[in-house]
């Protein structure tokens, strides 16, 4: 192991110990490690934003592109510059047009993603999986889960007894399916966390072995 790698591995070892020290209670070292993590993550995001998005998509075509390209890119350039006025509350109104454009595009992308990526694909999968065995369980579970959120909001006193009982029954079935889904998801998260725990312990031991005689 060369010197930079040794220093890096030692730093990783130290940070792992500091983060694990949280098990004994919140302490200044743990908070310092978290602030270090936030700082590095923020710096990393800045690198990606500037060198992977803004330079290749905006600044380089503006400098080296054709006149047509430059004209097209003037709109995002101006809107982007106006967005910086959002930093100060006194000039924030200047960035409203940029925010409106961003929110409009974001809403459209969200609608497109929800309809094409989630609603259509999930409905198609539900239709394709349908049969009188497991397919029926899946259909009932999906409908009951949806109904749980619909009827679980508030009880309507004006509903008659039969409708009320039916709503309560479907809602209970939906809760049952949600409990199973969360149980499986929780097991998945727990397994992933366990794998990370094992990896950290292994890396701590591997680092210590560099200095142990056995």
């Amino acid at each position: 192991m060369n010197l930079p790698e040794l220093i890096g591995t030692a730093l990783g070892f130290l940070l792992t110990i500091v983060v694990f020290s949280y098990l004994l209670g919140d302490n200044p070292f743990f908070r310092l490690a978290i602030h270090l993590f936030i700082g590095v993550a923020a710096g990393y995001v800045a690198i990606v934003v500037i060198y992977n998005v803004l330079l290749p998509r905006l600044f380089l075509p503006l400098i080296f592109g054709s006149w047509g390209e430059r004209g097209i890119l003037l709109v995002p350039l101006i809107l982007g510059l106006l967005l910086f006025f959002k930093i100060s509350p006194r000039t924030a109104w200047l960035g409203r047009a940029s925010m409106a454009t961003l929110v409009g595009i974001g809403a459209a992308v969200a609608i497109g993603g929800a309809v094409i990526g989630t609603l259509f694909s999930q409905m198609e999968a539900a239709i394709n999986a349908f049969n009188l065995g497991n397919g029926l369980i899946m259909l009932v579970g999906t409908l009951a889960t949806l109904a749980y959120f619909q009827f679980g909001v508030r009880k309507n006193d004006q509903q008659d007894g039969v409708v009320q009982q039916l709503s309560t029954g479907i809602s209970a079935a939906g809760k049952f399916f949600i409990a199973i889904a969360f149980g499986v998801l929780f097991a998945g998260v727990y397994t992933a966390a366990l794998a990370a725990f094992t990896e950290r312990i292994t890396s701590l031991w591997a680092f210590l072995q560099n200095f142990l005689p056995f």
Partner: protein
């Protein structure tokens, strides 16, 4: 009484841009008359959206740095932590700049950014993930000790079966019960949740596109 009416320019802009992008999603580019134009305009606005989202992220980072710098200068709560945030943020960015201009950004052996990522970011991230084991176990034990409802019992039962079925090779549990729970019962609940999220997203998006919700102000 005379009222001061201001035309909602921002809302008009958001609605117009949003509608063009939405129509670009649902009207194929081969559609007669407007298809090609809508697709091109939709693509253009998506490119504008990517640039604006990146700038918005940058504005957020500048704000984060400014807040921590103020806390560091005014000796506010957790001064040292705020100083560490600002210094490491600037240092990481400078290392990335060196990487970019020296052409090392994609080279794992030379990239300074990847070195920082490998030896600071990854250990802290994985250690936090590992901490989750203890926290999740503690939460599960607390759940056991409280008065349990039928749904909590189902949740914990399924959790135990799936966990044991994943980690150990138990006859009938590993090969039959666990896949059946994961691939049928859990899929049903998850699909219901996903459809609910999809419908909620659709409703929120339509509220913005119809101008009912105006999170940008104006």
């Amino acid at each position: 009484m005379k009222q001061n009416f201001r035309f909602p320019w921002s809302a008009v802009l958001a609605i117009a841009v949003g509608f063009v992008v939405t129509l670009g999603y649902f009207i194929p580019s081969s559609a007669p008359v407007v298809g090609g134009t809508l697709a091109s305009l939709g693509d253009y606005f998506l490119q504008v959206g990517v640039v604006l989202a990146a700038v918005a992220m940058l504005v957020g980072l500048i704000n984060l740095a400014a807040v921590h710098w103020t806390r560091f200068r005014t000796a506010g709560e957790n001064r040292l932590g705020s100083g560490v945030v600002v210094i490491t943020m600037i240092a990481t960015f400078l290392l990335g700049t060196i990487d970019y201009f020296w052409g090392w950004l994609e080279d794992p052996n030379r990239s300074l950014t990847q070195y920082v990522f490998r030896h600071i970011q990854l250990p802290v991230e994985r250690s936090l993930m590992a901490l989750l084991v203890v926290i999740l176990t503690y939460m599960a034990i607390r759940m056991f000790r409280r008065r349990m409802t039928v749904y909590q019992a189902v949740f914990l039962g399924v959790f135990m079966v799936v966990l044991l079925g994943t980690g150990l090779d138990i006859p009938y549990i590993t090969d039959t019960v666990k896949p059946w729970l994961s691939n049928v019962w859990a899929v049903a609940g998850t699909r219901g949740l996903l459809l609910g999220i999809g419908l909620g997203t659709l409703a929120s998006g339509l509220r913005v596109l119809s101008g009912v919700d105006r999170p940008y102000g104006g």
